[in-house]
């Protein structure tokens, strides 16, 4: 297990939409190079939590520290913060009017201000990292779902984020394409990337994650190493959920 230097600290986080409590006091830590897996029934707040970490949602109260910086501060340069936190979406959200390479290059050029040549070199390197160097010139509609998701991962990686957030990265994929995306995630973990993943891939969680968090109704029910959560869950809710998830 990696040294527990917390790079992500979430402290008593609350999020309300109108009169719905999406998150009710989440406290969580993730160490450098760890993969944290968020599991739980739909509507339990996993995705909301992830979106708060990238400030796509603004929490109602509580704090989130990334590498020691409080990103919930009211006056903060969100664009600078977000560039340090990669996000991968369930629906890929590739830009349909740009090639795979163009998708990766856009933020490099417009956010980091890199030259075209420099951005292109980085893009090709990252596409190679996800095994798609031969698809750099393809447009999203010419790529399979698994390939699109890998391009999306490369797009985030190119900005050299401190953390990568994955919001159900394989849920929109045909079963035979899930493996290629999980393989890339596995490889990222081996490279030492800190990752927070919302996913239903329990087998993958068990094999690859360092830390599993089970959430329900906007709260953490139980958290611990995968062996503990999957094999000896304490809470009744966790047990029922896992039983249903495996069948």
């Amino acid at each position: 297990m990696s040294q527990r230097l917390p790079i992500l600290t979430i402290d008593n986080l609350h999020l309300r939409y109108g009169d719905v409590d999406a998150l009710r006091g989440i406290t969580l830590e993730a160490g450098t190079g760890e993969m944290t897996f968020l599991i739980g029934p739909s509507g339990s707040g996993k995705s909301s939590l992830l979106r708060c970490c990238n400030r796509l949602e603004t929490p109602t109260s509580g704090k989130i520290y990334v590498d020691g910086e409080d990103i919930t501060q009211r006056y903060i340069n969100l664009n600078r913060v977000r560039r340090g936190i990669g996000m991968v979406f369930q629906s890929f959200n590739l830009y349909p009017h740009m090639s795979a390479k163009g998708n990766v290059m856009l933020a490099l050029r417009k956010v980091l201000g890199k030259s075209r040549a420099e951005a292109e070199a980085i893009a090709l390197k990252q596409l190679e990292r996800v095994g798609l160097s031969d698809r750099a010139g393809h447009y999203p509609n010419q790529l399979s779902g698994g390939q699109q998701q890998r391009v999306a991962i490369a797009r985030s990686l190119a900005l050299e984020p401190k953390i990568m957030l994955f919001d159900e990265p394989t849920s929109a994929l045909d079963p035979e394409l899930v493996g290629e995306v999980l393989k890339v995630m596995r490889q990222l973990k081996d490279d030492g990337m800190t990752m927070v993943v919302v996913s239903h891939e329990m087998r993958f969680a068990k094999a690859a994650s360092d830390h599993v968090v089970f959430m329900a109704e906007g709260q953490i029910v139980e958290a611990g190493p995968p062996a503990q959560i999957f094999d000896e869950p304490v809470a009744e809710r966790t047990r029922t959920f896992l039983q249903e998830a495996y069948h």
């Binding site: 796509l56 977000r82 990669g86 979406f89 830009y95 933020a107």
Partner: protein, 227 residues
């Protein structure tokens, strides 16, 4: 005189054509001039308003929506008459050309704003999130990610609307702008013959048929938008 001869004599009389073609050509030139000016200024203004609206400030959006509604509801000729005959009483004298350009620009801007806005709304929320998550700012996201996609969806309706509004340059006739239709009606009354009108009609066809055809092709190319 046979029937055919009479028809030719009324609508295609060679002597009349010869005498008035310079007037018709100069009218065509003025029509093109206004048309291009209106297209450039109207579409730019419309796009600017749509971008402004996407920022979601209530104080700005309400006037934009009212402006768009007003210009969609009022006949352009009414606006032209108000400006052309009303402003001089306030000591502001605008040429017919200027009034025509202003009114058509505003009308096109209103329709273009609406079309661009619908285009911006049609880009999925995920595109915004993906772009913002890589650190692109709001304006950058609009310019590099959202608008290129929105424009693809707006090309066909915008082309059709632009043709319809550009044809309104003929309204310049009412306030003495020396455009195509004005030249033709003037020539017609001097020549006491319908040939100049026919010449103008043919000039309009030469000018607009290619654009109408292009609009049709674009519509077909983007027909999937409706589904």
């Amino acid at each position: 005189m046979t029937r055919f001869d009479r028809f030719i004599d009324t609508f295609f009389k060679p002597e009349v054509m010869q005498q008035y073609w310079p007037d018709i050509v100069s009218g065509l030139f003025v029509t093109c001039q206004i048309a291009i000016l209106v297209i450039v200024s109207g579409i730019s203004l419309g796009l600017a308003l749509a971008i402004l609206r996407s920022y979601g400030f209530k104080v700005i959006n309400l006037p934009i929506v009212i402006f768009v509604d007003l210009l969609r509801a009022l006949p352009p000729l009414v606006l032209i008459l108000i400006l052309y005959f009303g402003l001089p009483n306030l000591g502001i004298n605008l040429s017919g050309f200027l009034v025509l350009w202003m009114v058509l620009t505003l009308v096109l801007a209103a329709f273009a704003e609406e079309i661009f806005w619908a285009g911006i709304l049609s880009v999925p929320e995920g595109q915004w999130q993906a772009a913002r998550s890589t650190g692109l700012g709001r304006f950058q996201t609009l310019i590099y990610v959202v608008i290129p996609q929105a424009v693809r969806m707006t090309v066909a309706p915008l082309t059709n609307r632009t043709i319809a509004i550009t044809k309104n340059t003929a309204l310049g006739m009412v306030i003495g702008v020396p455009e195509l239709l004005n030249q033709a009606t003037t020539a017609q009354s001097f020549a006491a013959n319908a040939t100049p009108l026919m010449m103008a009609t043919i000039a309009y066809l030469i000018l607009f048929i290619p654009v109408v055809y292009a609009g049709r092709r674009l519509e077909k190319a983007y027909a999937w938008r409706r589904h």
